[in-house]
């Protein structure tokens, strides 16, 4: 049965190296035409890298191995060429232009024009867009401005855009991470419709329920290698997790003695209003406490308000914030990050490139940016002292860089993250907030980051860790708070927490009282 016609795509012996990391060691991956093929693995297993190789983002000679699309060898020099061959990828971060209409986005760069002067024939464009949208049962007005649409609808627009360039291999990278349940339903419906039309889909997700609900076959990646490809029927949840992890969880998350001390932080009735929509709240009425020597996890879906909560605690939105904050029993007001720093708080932000690092400055200058005051006298920077601090923390966090003078953007993701952490450790914080500390960090560096976190907790620092990876929260934290739609909807100790309980609180299917009843 496996005539070459039935194989939509095949990748053989793919090896991809980054400076310092071998992201893909030897990956084999193939999809049949018209199937929904799940691609699973932990963060850092190589899923995204594999998709970037497939879609030409990592162009031809930068990787080793062979790619065949519909039996033909493909050597893409860029994403454009991959698109022309019918391979499209829908990224986690959507790539739409928010000020343009749906149709404008779909036909960007190839708009039908009325005249030689290049005036866009909007009517024709909208009609064409509608044709594509309705042929896949996607109900969106082609004239709607993208910024007015919800994330779920935007995703549909992305899919329609890909299909309108005749994509027949579609990779969906974590498509549901920001969707509501109804949106997930309609996405699934679209996926099934597309399958009917012989579109091959690669479905990447951490949510195993979705994999079981929608996929025909699954390929498991682990540490840059293919573990195997399985029919969904021969797997169950536990088997799949075992294949993904491949070892005990205790190996993944280093051991730590739990010995919480005095209360470090107490927050009561803490709210953050929406910066642009008056009346809306991104965090409402949050109350919790955290202790010295404790790792407190904050879990929740994207958009649940977890990042806003910790960023506001750090004094970043003084005008939008209300509620009381106590540090070591003392009531404090934090109207700026500087005040937060003076109160002993550090924040490793979610998006290190946007909020954590000054990419064109050196590794050393980034490490000392938040403790310049301690390193200078009457403005003059004490060069020797600064060098000592840089050396100390580069060593302590095992930052791999040619020298501390190179620009931080030359480092790998994991090492960049370590630089951000070094910046805050150099301030000796009493409370360290980590927002998605291991996002985009490879497996080795992850383990190092976990070890650093454990060392901090053991030395009495209060660590608050926001993470969308349930396993990470369960493996690292003494206690877990769960957020949903700006509210804290659950609180569990390490012993009582399970993925299912956290997920149901995170999706709002279990009310706070329900969560309390669990205790």
């Amino acid at each position: 049965m496996s005539g070459s016609n039935d194989i939509a795509l095949e990748m053989r012996g793919i090896v991809k190296e980054f400076p310092g990391v071998k992201a893909l060691k030897n990956v084999t991956f193939s999809c049949r035409r018209g199937e929904v093929h799940g691609l699973v693995g932990e963060n850092g297993a190589g899923k995204s890298t594999l998709m970037k190789v497939l879609s030409g983002v990592h162009p031809y000679p930068t990787y080793e191995g062979d790619i065949f699309i519909k039996g033909e060898r493909a050597r893409f020099s860029g994403a454009r060429e991959a698109e022309r061959a019918g391979v499209a990828i829908i990224h986690q971060e959507l790539n739409l232009i928010s000020e343009l209409t749906v149709a404008g986005n779909m036909f960007l760069g190839r708009e039908p024009s009325v005249s030689p002067f290049g005036i866009i024939n909007t009517r024709k464009m909208n009609a064409d867009a509608l044709k594509y949208l309705s042929s896949f049962n996607i109900k969106i007005d082609p004239g709607a401005i993208v910024k007015d649409l919800s994330v779920g609808v935007r995703q549909m627009v992305e899919i329609a855009k890909a299909l309108s360039v005749n994509a027949d291999v579609l990779a969906l990278d974590e498509p549901t991470s920001a969707l509501t349940e109804t949106e997930v339903e309609s996405l699934f419906k679209t996926v099934r419709d597309l399958k009917e039309k012989d579109v091959t889909m690669i479905y990447i997700s951490h949510k195993l329920d979705e994999i079981f609900a929608i996929c025909d076959r699954v390929t498991v990646l682990r540490d840059g290698e293919t573990v195997g490809t399985y029919d969904i029927g021969e797997l169950d949840r536990d088997k799949l997790v075992a294949l993904m992890v491949g070892r005990d969880l205790t190996n993944l998350y280093p051991e730590r003695k739990s010995n919480p001390g005095a209360e470090a932080l107490r927050v009561s009735d803490f709210s953050v209003s929406h910066p642009f929509l008056p009346g809306e709240k991104v965090v409402s009425g949050a109350s919790f406490s955290a202790r010295h020597g404790e790792a407190l996890g904050i879990s929740g879906l994207m958009g649940s308000g977890r990042s806003e909560l910790v960023t506001a605690l750090f004094g970043a939105f003084p005008k939008e914030t209300s509620g009381d904050v106590f540090i070591d029993g003392r009531k404090v007001r934090m109207r700026s990050p500087l005040e937060a720093i003076r109160n002993g708080i550090g924040l490793v932000t979610e998006d290190r490139k946007r909020f954590g690092l000054v990419l064109i400055m050196s590794v050393g200058e980034n490490i000392t940016l938040a403790c310049m005051r301690a390193l200078s006298k009457l403005q003059w920077v004490a060069a020797k002292k600064e060098r000592a601090v840089i050396e100390e923390y580069s060593k302590e966090l095992n930052i791999k860089a040619a020298s501390s003078r190179v620009a931080v953007n030359t480092l790998s993701g994991g090492n960049q993250q370590k630089v951000v952490m070094a910046k805050w450790l150099a301030n000796s914080p009493g409370i360290l907030i980590l927002d998605e500390p291991t996002r985009g960090v490879d497996v080795g560096a992850r383990f190092e980051i976990y070890q650093i976190v454990n060392k901090l907790v053991e030395s009495g620092v209060c660590v608050i860790m926001v993470s969308s990876e349930l396993q990470e929260v369960l493996g690292m934290c003494d206690r877990v708070l769960v957020m949903c739609e700006g509210k804290i909807t659950g609180e569990f100790t390490r012993e009582e927490a399970t993925q299912e309980k956290i997920m149901s609180c995170a999706t709002g299917t279990m009310s706070r009282s329900g969560a309390d009843a669990q205790k």
Partner: protein
């Protein structure tokens, strides 16, 4: 990223200096009177005013901003200074102080609008450019304000400021000494102090810098005040050099200053720049002006050739970045 061969790297790393050397040799050969001690010494003196503005401009650009108002602030300050001296029989140092405060205030306004109302620097300083020029013309009633009050001319300290502007004492004009002092001071401020680090960080990534506990608003406000202050210093010196406050002083100087920064490798994207390199950038442009004039070229030709050289210098810089 392609690795460049060693000679190619050397050429692009030192592009500006090489262009400078080539231009120098070219003029030495082709322009009569260019290669005399007197003429060479004249280049830093002729460029001094633009260099003073360009140093402050470098800091502004490193924060990711731009300042189009400084040329007008030079004129505004010169007019205010001359007016104070003419209308009120105050001591000259007081008149200087008053003029410097007036000029710096324009920078404070610009900084305030940029920080408080998030007006883009281009717009805020464009507005200040026309406002300051308009005020200068208004106060001067569209003509020059001559500093010829006999009562003041007799003051010895007035002679003193005249000397600051033009007189030689040890062979180096005071103006050049002052200019070099400012360059060194601001150069060290940028490279060796906390404020300087914050300036660079703000331009590199404002959000990340803010979240590192830096008041980027303060940093941004300060660079515009410093820049306006330097423009005010230039305004006072221009007025004392020419013995009048002319509301048409400093036209297009902001562009000369920006060109000096850019030729010196300052990135208009922010986060990258060096005041000492700006000095050389300005000297290169000054040398072009001087040499082309010595060659007997028309002013139109000088404009065109200058534009081409500026473009070339920046292209070398871009090639390096790739």
């Amino acid at each position: 990223m392609k690795k460049m061969s060693q000679p190619a790297r050397f050429l692009t790393d030192n592009g500006m200096y090489i262009v400078m050397a080539l231009v120098f040799v070219y003029f030495a050969v082709s322009a009569p009177g260019f290669l005399t001690a007197n003429n060479i010494a004249r280049i830093p003196l002729q460029s001094a005013f633009v260099i003073l503005i360009a140093t402050g401009m470098t800091m502004v650009i490193i924060t990711g901003g731009i300042d189009l108002s400084v040329g007008s602030v030079v004129a505004f300050t010169a007019v205010i200074f001359s007016l104070i001296l003419r209308q009120y029989a105050v001591a000259v140092p007081l008149a200087i102080l008053g003029a410097l405060i007036a000029g710096s205030t324009s920078g404070a306004f610009v900084g305030f609008f940029i920080v408080k109302f998030r007006v883009p620097p281009f717009i805020a300083t464009l507005a200040m450019m026309t406002i300051a020029r308009g005020l200068a013309r208004l106060f001067a009633q569209n003509s020059k304000i001559f500093i010829e009050n006999p009562a003041i001319e007799n003051y010895s300290d007035f002679i003193m400021i005249k000397e600051i502007a033009i007189t030689n004492a040890i062979g180096v004009p005071y103006l050049v000494i002052l200019m070099l002092a400012v360059v060194v001071f601001l150069g060290l401020l940028l490279m060796k102090t906390r404020f300087g680090r914050y300036v660079t960080a703000t331009g590199g990534n404002e959000e990340a810098t803010k979240l590192s506990g830096v008041s980027v608003n303060q940093v941004k406000f300060m660079v515009y005040v410093i820049n306006a202050f330097l423009a005010a210093v230039v305004g006072v010196m221009m007025a004392s050099k020419f013995m009048n406050g002319n509301p048409e002083f400093g036209v297009m100087w902001e562009l000369d200053a920006i060109a000096a920064c850019v030729v010196g490798g300052t990135s208009l994207m922010g986060g990258k720049g060096n005041i000492f390199k700006t000095l050389f950038g300005a000297l290169l442009i000054g040398m072009l002006d001087n040499g082309l004039l010595a060659q007997g070229r028309s002013s139109e030709m000088i404009y065109i050739i200058k534009g081409i050289i500026i473009l070339g210098a920046v292209i070398i810089d871009q090639v390096k970045e790739k």
